[in-house]
């Protein structure tokens, strides 16, 4: 595949900002309800015609790379295509319900929320699910607050949370934000939890162990049942980071492995938009014993219909109302459309695609057998340079130099949505970039709209947008 990204520039200046294309000062009628000192008499706005505006945004979109153009195999981030029918469902005017309406008048809305609680509980092997947290990381934080409330309710003062060194950075942050000390757990030679180190780390101070399974290298934690027993024997709880649930969907359930709390990354697993790009959702499931601590409100079904209620010892609210409702609608629609067979098929293809891709690349993959993602190594070549060169072959590169367990790591997760031709394109990009000359790697990318970024200058002298705006004053 030959690739040349669109590039709109004059004298090497990119497509200008709207405010650089035109700035027209218009008088504003400031007579209104706001006090005079809070209003302006004139505004400077870009006065552009619709075609000017349409071309501006279309050009920007053509200078961009997105999952609608090609694969985006960022390991541990799971960037997969979101089917557009879920957008149609969320855009249905009937989905626009004011959150303060009485339960009696929004039975359909509550029924959907209840249905999603049930779907997710069933998928994760959990007993109760809150839909309120607005992102995966917020779900983690909520889950840890629930663990804390549980221990406190038993007058059991615990101070530590154990986290593998290869875990997602958010795990450490969630534990620290909840006031816990973090105990870091090394990996064993196979890339899994080091059981001896775990045994040494567990104590009566252990509030919880946070794990993702399969782990960050895509490896299944085979000792999970023993791990659960060790943590539970010490009075601790087992937390499941749902980041890698895609590998297990419809085949194995965290609840059955002994996990007590889990969050679901609905953007990774159920194809809703990523939280960073707008409102997200990170539901949290728990076992029966912890259900009373979940955030309020939850939805339950009674003889009189659906109603919202506050769990008995709720930790309170972590977001307004029921959470980001329209994101939840999309997750529900996706699960309902796929069904049991479709979800199981998604995990099969996620694992098959990762394994097929790995078999087609010339880079070594030191750890396995892996599931939905793998950490290849670029050996004595710089992983970031190989990644930048991959851009020239028309694909987005994988996550680089993480996890640190693999030197020059290229953590790759093609996801279930790619077909064979697309995986072959990816493999070609890997192999061609890996085999290219040092010079080609050091000067890449050369075919993208933006060329090699000066990372040092960018980090040392950031041009913050509020300062940039201030320049115009």
């Amino acid at each position: 595949m030959n690739f040349d990204q669109a590039r709109f520039s004059r004298d090497d200046e990119y497509e200008p900002l709207l405010s650089e294309k035109d700035s027209t000062t218009v008088e504003v009628d400031s007579e209104g309800v706001l006090p005079d000192d809070l209003t302006r008499d004139e505004l400077t706005l870009p006065a552009l015609s619709e075609p000017q505006l349409a071309r501006h945004y279309t050009r920007l979109s053509q200078m961009n790379y997105s999952v609608e153009l090609g694969p985006y195999p960022l390991g541990s981030c799971t960037m997969k295509y979101n089917p557009s029918f879920t957008e149609d469902v969320a855009a249905d005017p009937n989905a626009g319900v004011h959150p303060d309406r009485s339960d009696r008048t929004i039975q359909g809305t509550l029924g959907l929320l209840h249905g999603l609680q049930e779907y997710l509980a069933d998928i994760g092997g959990m007993d109760a699910v809150t839909l309120q947290p607005p992102a995966g990381a917020a779900g983690e934080f909520t889950g840890i607050l629930v663990a804390k409330a549980y221990h406190e309710s038993r007058d059991d003062d615990r101070s530590e949370i154990i986290i593998p060194s290869s875990a997602h950075g958010t795990n450490f942050a969630s534990a620290a934000m909840a006031g816990y000390d973090v105990v870091e757990l090394p990996s064993d030679d196979d890339g899994r939890v080091d059981m001896e180190a775990l045994d040494a780390a567990i104590s009566e101070e252990t509030a919880a162990l946070m794990l993702t399974n399969p782990n960050t290298l895509g490896l299944f934690e085979r000792d999970i049942v023993d791990i659960a027993e060790m943590v539970h024997d010490a009075g601790g709880l087992l937390y499941y980071d749902g980041a890698n649930l895609n590998a297990l969907l419809g085949r194995a359930r965290p609840g059955d492995m002994g996990f007590d709390i889990m969050h679901y990354n609905v953007h990774k697993t159920f194809a809703t938009p990523h939280g960073g790009g707008g409102p997200g959702a990170g539901p949290v499931g728990v076992v029966e014993e912890l259900a009373e601590f979940l955030p309020s409100p939850m939805v339950r079904e009674t003889a009189a219909g659906y109603e919202q209620y506050e769990p008995e010892s709720s930790i309170g609210k972590v977001h307004g109302f029921a959470g980001n409702w329209l994101v939840l609608v999309k997750a529900y629609a996706y699960i309902a459309r796929l069904g049991d067979a479709g979800l199981a098929d998604a995990s099969a293809k996620a694992v098959l695609n990762a394994n097929y891709l790995a078999s087609q690349i010339d880079l070594e993959v030191p750890y396995g057998p892996f599931h939905h993602e793998f950490a290849a190594t670029s050996g004595d070549r710089d992983a970031a340079d190989v990644a930048k060169r991959m851009l020239d072959y028309g694909v987005h590169p994988p996550t680089t130099k993480w996890p640190e367990l693999v030197s020059q790591a290229m953590l790759t997760e093609p996801t279930e949505v790619e077909d064979k031709a697309s995986l072959d394109d990816l493999a070609h990009a890997f192999n061609a970039a890996y085999a290219d000359s040092d010079e080609a790697l050091e000067t890449a990318p050369t075919k993208t709209s933006a060329r090699r970024i000066d990372q040092v200058s960018a980090a040392r002298n950031p041009r913050l947008s509020w300062q940039a705006l201030g320049d115009d004053e």
């Binding site: 130099k401 990372q455 040092v456 980090a459 040392r460």
Partner: protein
């Protein structure tokens, strides 16, 4: 070969400290700055803070990595090199001179005996 001056002592984690006078200077080694690559951000304690030997006292961030900094000996911070906040590249350009990080009034001089000599540190980096 990396520069390892003979007039100071070292930690396995690549910090150095001078050993003479009421206040000693602390920084990171030439080897450390080379491994880190271009440094873009430094976080240091405030004047008057108490540090314990082996305790984390700050963070250094490069485009490649973020690393914790460890105190070679216990003591009270008497000065902080604030120039590093605006010009973190001093750590790359002159790690033993203008790239110093802290001045510390040592609490227990015997702690210097636990640190690596220049020869021992040289062996570690080879």
């Amino acid at each position: 070969m990396f520069e390892i001056p003979d007039d100071r002592k070292y930690l396995e984690s690549h910090e150095w400290t001078t050993t003479e006078g009421d206040a000693v200077k602390i920084g990171i080694s030439d080897f450390a700055q080379d491994e880190l690559g271009d440094v873009v951000f430094v976080e240091l304690p405030a004047e008057g803070d108490e540090l314990a030997a082996g305790e984390e006292f700050g963070v250094v961030e490069s485009i490649k990595a973020v690393s914790d900094l460890y105190a070679p000996v216990s003591g009270t911070v008497t000065a902080v090199n604030e120039e590093l906040f605006d010009a973190p590249e001093l750590l790359n350009d002159d790690p033993y001179g203008d790239g110093w990080m802290l001045e510390l009034e040592p609490a227990d001089e015997s702690e210097f005996d636990d640190l690596l000599s220049p020869e021992e540190y040289r062996e570690q980096t080879e």
